[in-house]
């Protein structure tokens, strides 16, 4: 049984987190940026024959003008303004984690913590067994058997329309309902788009889904589902077997598994507190640092451990610069 731990109350000191980062990275005062723009400032496009207008800009009277306050980023021909925090903006092909908000008329409305709710059409979900058939009226009535309201799902962005509405699909066995795990909300700016968003950490027995919209899912690994997904990917498995494997309830996780999941989730929360990018390597290095130093689960969010994480990052950057 768990013993209830004593409640620790710490006074809130404004600016303490920033002071911690500045101390560790030896940055006394943040240098003013030369490419900082404010709303309405003109962005120079001289020296560029053509350019692609990105987020945070608009063309007014033939001039490129910023609509948000931030730093101008230029990547090849793309010019956009990066703000410190903004809502997630969907791009085609992003892997996202969302919560079902509503079930209505041949589609689910999924909340992605973005500007609008995304739509998941009934025709775009993966049927158990991988069979392809036309959805009929009975499927429409049984939509709740797939996903109910307030359930978490992982999906991929199929398309983004001109007015900003997003269409999702779960046309693969690896997408679908997420159960028995922990969800961590991270500012979407900290998540980089990478080739792989599904990570299976077999050594720890944990699966990690880093959604591009800032929702990160950490759950104990389910070997039976993993096997079924692998079989489906290789193609040609028995439809009946697959349906059974997916319908079977998951075995209850052990205490050791839960502890690993909580520790990983806390590692992600620590990175969020320090506003550092969240990707598998940074999560694993934070996790390993916590295990090495024998930090308690709740102690991973205390200033002492955060300082250690920042120190590690400073060391990594220093050695990277020397190379």
């Amino acid at each position: 049984m768990f013993e209830p731990a004593a409640v620790l109350v710490r006074a809130h000191r404004p600016g303490a987190d920033i002071a911690l980062i500045e101390r560790a990275l030896n940055v006394p005062d943040a240098l003013p940026s030369t490419t900082f723009v404010c709303v309405g400032d003109e962005i120079s496009t001289e020296g560029q024959e053509g350019f692609l207008r990105g987020h945070g800009t608009q063309v007014v009277d033939g001039k490129l003008v910023a609509t948000v306050c931030g730093v101008v980023e230029r990547i090849n021909k793309l010019i956009y303004v990066k703000t410190l925090n903004s809502r997630y903006v969907a791009e085609q092909g992003d892997v996202v984690v969302g919560r079902v908000a509503d079930v209505a008329g041949k589609a689910w409305r999924v909340d992605l913590k973005s500007r609008q709710e995304a739509k998941l059409l009934l025709s775009a979900v993966h049927l158990p067994g991988g069979i392809q058939r036309r959805r009929n009226a009975e499927d429409e009535l049984n939509m709740r058997a797939f996903f109910r309201e307030a359930e978490l799902i992982s999906a991929e962005v199929q398309s983004v329309h001109a007015d900003g509405s997003v269409a999702l699909h779960t046309r693969s066995a690896k997408y679908g309902k997420l159960v028995h795990g922990q969800l961590v909300e991270v500012p979407p700016n900290l998540i980089k788009r990478q080739k792989q968003h599904f990570h299976t950490l077999e050594a720890l027995g944990v699966e990690l889904i880093i959604g591009c919209n800032g929702l990160v899912w950490v759950a104990p690994l389910r070997p039976d589902r993993a096997a079924a997904a692998a079989a489906a990917a290789s193609g040609g498995a028995d439809a009946q077997e697959q349906a059974e494997a997916e319908a079977r309830p998951p075995p209850p996780p052990t205490k050791a598994q839960l502890e690993v999941v909580c520790r990983l989730a806390n590692a992600i929360r620590a990175l969020t507190r320090l506003y550092m990018p969240v990707y598998p390597a940074s999560i694993m290095s934070t996790y390993e640092a916590a295990v090495e130093q024998g930090v308690a689960l709740a102690g991973m969010l205390e200033p002492e451990f955060l300082e250690a994480v920042v120190g590690q990052e400073a060391h990594r950057r220093g050695s990277a610069m020397q190379e």
Binding site: F36, C38, D41, G56, T67, V68, N85
Partner: protein
Amino acid sequence: MEVDRAGPGPGSSRAKGRLPSQLRTIVSERCVLDRADGSAKWTQEGSCVLAAVYGPRQAKVQREDGERAVVEVVYKPRAGLQGHTERSRELDIRGVLEGIIPLGMHPRTSIMVVLQVIQDDGSVLSCALNAAVAALVDAGVPLNSMCASASCVLTQEGQLLLDPDSCEEKAATAQFCFTFPHHFDLTKSAEGEAVVSQAALGCRSHGNFKTGHLLEALQLCALGCQRVAAFARLSLSKSLPA
């Protein structure tokens, strides 16, 4: 949380030496609330307003517009329930914000601005508008231009006073609150000189006055807005490093 001060002002009241066209000390804090998309606390010496912005996010079906974003403003007084003055201020603030947000960019979304008056010592509407714009910038909502607001009053003797406190407002014949859009002219200097547009975005007046008074109040508030704009730029450039 970032806190910026506009520099020690010479005493808040006219008795202590504040000139008729001098603003009170401004303090602005960004990122005050955790759960809101953007938040800001704007203090003009005695008046303090906390603004929170939620959005752009999915609008309720009854309120969504298929072609543009919907701006919802909630203005809460320091004490008591919302009355008719609060509702009319909500309409004013909504009109001003709809002028600076490109609504057609986000159809079917809603941008909700919640304003809570923490302290009231005159010029509260200006304070609320400045706080709302700072919160919108903090939330990363795209804007066509920034805007600044300043208030002034016409005394019994016919003198105009900028940024009045509550006793001056009570004793005044007329009260004005002007909002101007501003942008920065980067050709003049590297930091950018604040250029306040000639056209006002919002004007709220109350009381007994002549046309001449209105035009003079417009000029005086434009001057005040220039200083508010310079302060807003300074506070943003300090909190957005490379």
